[in-house]
Amino acid sequence: MRASFVFSEVLTGLRRNVTMTIAMILTTAISLGLLGGGLLVVRMIDRMGENYLDHLEVYVHLTDDVSQSDATCSDEPCGSLQSSLQNAAGVESVVFESREEAYARFQQIFAGQPELVDLTRPESLPASFRVKLENQERFAALEEEFSGQAGVNRVVDQAEFLDRLFDLLGGVRNATFAVALVQAIAALLLISNTIQVSAFTRRTEVGIMRLVGATRWYTQLPFLLEAVVAGLIGALLAVGGLVVAKLGFIDRVLQGPIEANIIPELSLADVLLISPVLFGVAAAVSAVTGYVTLRLYVRN
């Protein structure tokens, strides 16, 4: 097979049909970009899971008056609460965090949102015990034992917040994949249509090729490659789009939570790591679509 011949046929084909080609590339790019976004969220969720599961804690928030009056946990009921927590079954460690310490941590977490820090006064934050359990499933027993005790306002499982956060991220991921899928269907139809139009505009050539005994590969490979090349250009745009979105948008919007270690940072390496997947998907999907289209609609 003469590569130069096939290559020039592909270029001619893409040029001849330029509006269609652009539409095909853009749809593919959007679809792949969304797929990539979804994959990045998946990576993020994985990494958050790793980060958090080791450090999950139970918060025992103290009542307002205890928070206010007892900054060192040396009086009652704080002192006896601390010792009974330490002695409770399945508890690994107990750390007391005073109102002032809680406020300092709050300031640190929300350093990226100074308005919020300005609006929040130390009095709105409770003092608390941060309890690390040997096994997070012991939470129910702990909650039952300590909620309602004097000085205790609420017993809170961090895992619950985390579940909600993961639910949210999972939803974002699913929505992204869903839109990516819809876009992918549009992209498939466009690829299929472009190949049909392309084959129609070149029917004289193809007719002559068949007549002089060109093999199927010679007659059909240009169309197939046309789809694959467009798909790969789409993937390139998608990766470019993700990089731009990361640098110009995500980094800025998520700056606070990232600095506070709530959400892991999205690195350029992450984007580059998923790009082979996007290129692979683009090539495979466009090749298969092209092949099926040629089989179904174009006489060989």
Binding site: M1, R2, F5, T204, E205, G207, I208, M209, R210, L211, V212, G213, A214, T215, R216, Y218, T219
Partner: protein, 229 residues
């Protein structure tokens, strides 16, 4: 070179067979006219030889191939040994004369140095040397048909099929094309030409196979178009 044995071809869309129990054999190097009115089955005859279609019944042999048993993937090999010329030339309008001829070799994967060598040779053979860089629309009808013949002949086919090659040409130009086909025939290529053109058939005095309603009604070794005409 060509052998049809009791070939019948029925199309789904028509109750009457396009060809009915046709048996014809053509030797290597022969020049044969295939005549008959429109709808007599000439085109079907040619389509079957090109393996564009398979017969409903009977056997077809072209060179060493049994077309009824030829698998699809082997069809390109067959077609590489058959040249085709049509009434409407079928040239690529965006390619030059030389590119049109070269196209037939490029798409079957011939190496570039071969193409560079044989294209000028065949253009000279058909009398188009000096017009290699012209575009088809700059040529007369006769010249365009010469390009088509060059393209059909450039790969040195065993068999040249011509479907009314003079149908769009004036009598003088037609004569020139016939001389060219004769010259090609003298190189040993078998030529099978479907035509309506009385004067050509009468003047050439070659073998004539006549089809009517899908049946062979005449097979003269040195025939004229119509008996008594």
């Amino acid at each position: 070179m060509i052998r049809l044995e009791h070939v019948t071809k029925v199309y789904k869309t028509s109750p009457r067979p396009a060809l009915e129990d046709v048996s014809v054999s053509v030797d290597k190097g022969e020049f044969v006219f295939l005549i008959g009115p429109s709808g007599s089955g000439k085109s079907t005859f040619l389509r079957l030889l090109l393996r564009e279609d398979v017969p409903t019944k009977g056997e077809i042999h072209v060179a060493d191939w049994d077309l009824t048993k030829l698998p699809r993937r082997r069809v390109p090999r067959l077609r590489q040994r058959i040249g085709c010329v049509f009434q409407d030339f079928r040239l690529l309008v965006n390619k030059t004369v030389a590119e049109n001829v070269a196209f037939a070799l490029e798409v079957i994967g011939k190496p570039r140095h071969t193409i560079r060598k044989v294209v000028p040779e065949v253009l000279q053979l058909v009398g188009l040397d000096g017009k290699a860089e012209r575009m088809p629309n700059e040529l007369s009808g006769g010249e365009q048909q010469r390009v088509a013949i060059a393209r059909a002949f450039v790969n040195r086919p065993l068999l040249l099929l011509a479907d009314e090659p003079t149908g769009n040409l004036d009598p003088d130009t037609s004569q020139d094309i016939m001389l060219l086909l004769e010259r090609i025939n003298r190189t040993g290529t078998t030529v099978l030409m479907a035509t309506h053109d009385h004067s050509i058939v009468d003047s050439m005095r070659r073998r004539v196979v006549e089809l009517q309603f899908g049946k062979v009604t005449r097979d003269d070794s040195r025939g004229v178009y119509g008996v008594g005409r």
